[in-house]
């Protein structure tokens, strides 16, 4: 698979005299995958997101995005065109006075000509199903709608990677669903690579790959199937377990001979059915 981002021995500290927030992180992001990064608050996962598009520059090591180095000021703009971030707070990333103006903001920054801008905006808002709200003002939109506008703003820049930096944590269940479904469709139909930094383990289960962060280190990487088997490791990393995994473990403790912990309810039901 094609490598989009490679992170080599990256460490980061805000100031030299402060303890490092990230320590010797190595990882690769492949084209087209959905990568979930999970970890407790303060594990360094959000810092990692900011390193990926050069909002922060590593104190040691290198972050390479499609061949561009985030540490080189002249390559930063190429990187930001390719990597978009949806942040946590829907209000604090809405720059424009209307949906149309907000989606245009990134395009204006990159000097896209006006005619091209208009077609790209139309296309982008259609992909996030916000075309009926082009002239709406942000205070008349729900949290989920604002996050979809943020996604449209990124899409209009024709990115290769979308990073969700806890983008659903301030939303209600409906908003959360809207945003995840929107991004899922982009990932599957347009092949956009997604890096999702999240607390939501039910979402992490559906990722192609999961990285577990703990105290600035990537302590485990692998498919969800593999990562969520290790319940103790996850709890040690300050995380909760997905419902079906918890139930599997609890049943095992009660002496039900389940061969492993199952990730989804359907799988667990099937496994129990075969046992009975």
């Amino acid at each position: 698979m094609k490598e989009l981002i490679s992170i080599n021995d990256v460490s980061f500290a805000y100031r030299e005299d402060e303890p490092a927030i990230l320590k010797d992180v190595n990882l690769t992001v492949y084209a087209g995958e959905w990568l979930a990064i999970v970890g407790h608050n303060g594990s360094g996962k959000s810092t990692l997101a900011k390193l990926l598009n050069g909002l922060l520059i590593p104190t040691a090591g290198r972050v390479i995005v499609e061949g561009y180095d985030t540490a080189r000021a002249d390559e930063l703009w190429e990187i930001r065109k390719r990597v978009g971030i949806v942040f946590q707070n829907p209000d604090n990333q809405f720059v424009g006075t209307s949906v149309r103006d907000d989606v245009a903001f990134g395009l204006e920054n990159f000097g896209v000509v006006r005619e091209e801008m208009i077609t790209r905006i139309d296309e982008a808002v259609r992909k996030v199903k916000m075309e009926k709200f082009l002239d709406a003002e942000p205070h008349h939109l729900s949290g989920g709608q604002k996050q979809r506008v943020a996604i449209a703003g990124i899409l209009a820049q024709k990115p290769s990677i979308i990073i969700l930096d806890e983008a659903t944590s301030m939303l209600d269940p409906m908003g959360r669903k809207e945003v995840i479904e929107t991004v899922k469709a982009l990932n599957e139909q347009q092949g956009i690579t997604v890096i999702s930094i999240t607390h939501d383990l039910e979402e992490a289960i559906r990722a192609d790959r999961v990285i577990v962060m703990k105290q600035g280190k990537a302590i485990m990487q692998g498919g969800p199937e593999e990562v969520f088997q290790d319940g103790e490791m996850l709890i040690g990393a300050g995380l909760d377990l997905p419902f079906s995994v918890k139930l599997s473990l609890s049943l095992q403790k009660k002496g039900i001979p389940l061969p492993k912990a199952y990730l989804t309810q359907e799988e667990l039901v099937e496994a129990l059915w075969t046992l009975s």
């Binding site: 703009w77 209000d91 149309r100 006006r114």
Partner: protein
């Protein structure tokens, strides 16, 4: 629900005045503020009044909105009128009551000054009533564009304005929320002695400031992530279109100016 207040005074509409380029409106208002002072007799004041009246009719803005703009200055208008009526001497004596004397010139001068104030307020109100704040910002940015050459941060100023406009409803909502939270903790914002009431605002203002700083920080980060790096090399989606109407408006203003010069005494 504070979030639904209308920002600025803009009254949505489709009149000719609404559809004009904000630049032509800004230039006209700017010019009008100067030529108002040219008028010094009934004919010239009449011309200004005619212009104002036509503008109001064309704007289709309901009169009550204009009255709302006028109300705060009515007291000043009455005060200056009274001042002139009693202080200016000249012309025929119209009225006498003891030491109080009112002369013809007093009434004339008083009326002139009052009309001047009223015209000024009406015309500037028409600008804000028929132009959205964001259009005014765009207009100003374009008009002041040449000042960039002398290093005036015109783009930054305009961006600041538009972000401020964008965040007003958000901050109002936040204010309402914090007010309620503190009321639930026993703060009374609307009753009690003045000193207590002023003190009551500290628990409102501190959280507001803190959250605004946090917002500013996050917004700056989000803008940077979306490739913002100042005004250079930036294109714009919002464009202003100068039409026939705009040229006509400027022409009318010029004719008005010339007429005032010719007709003033």
């Amino acid at each position: 629900m504070l979030e639904n207040v209308i920002i600025g005074q803009y009254v949505p509409g489709r009149s000719i005045l609404h559809r004009l380029d904000p630049r032509s409106k800004l230039i006209s208002v700017f010019l009008f503020v100067f030529i108002v002072f040219l008028a010094n007799n009934w004919v010239t004041y009449g011309l200004l009044g005619l212009f104002t009246a036509v503008a109001i009719v064309v704007s289709q803005v309901p009169l009550r909105f204009l009255y709302k703009g006028l109300r705060p200055i009515l007291i000043i208008v009455l005060f200056t009128f009274a001042l002139h009526i009693f202080m200016t001497k000249g012309g025929a004596l119209l009225f006498q009551f003891g030491w109080l004397k009112i002369y013809e010139q007093g009434v004339v001068q008083g009326s002139f000054i009052s009309f001047r104030l009223i015209f000024l307020v009406l015309v500037t109100s028409l600008l804000t009533l028929t132009t959205t704040p964001i259009d005014i910002t765009d207009g100003l940015e374009q008009l002041l564009g040449p000042l960039k050459r002398i290093k005036l941060p015109v783009h930054e100023f305009a961006l600041m304005m538009s972000i401020a406009l964008r965040f007003i409803p958000t901050l109002l909502k936040e204010t309402e929320k914090i007010m309620k939270a503190q009321m639930a903790r026993g703060v009374e914002f609307t009753s009690g002695p003045i000193k207590e009431r002023i003190k009551a605002f500290i628990p409102l203002l501190v959280p507001l400031f803190i959250s605004s700083f946090k917002r500013a920080e996050e917004l700056a980060l989000a803008m940077e992530a979306r490739g913002y790096r100042g005004g250079e090399g930036r294109t714009k989606l919002r464009i202003l279109k100068w039409g026939m109407g705009d040229s006509i408006l400027i022409a009318v203003l010029l004719i008005l100016t010339i007429s005032l010069f010719l007709l003033r005494s």
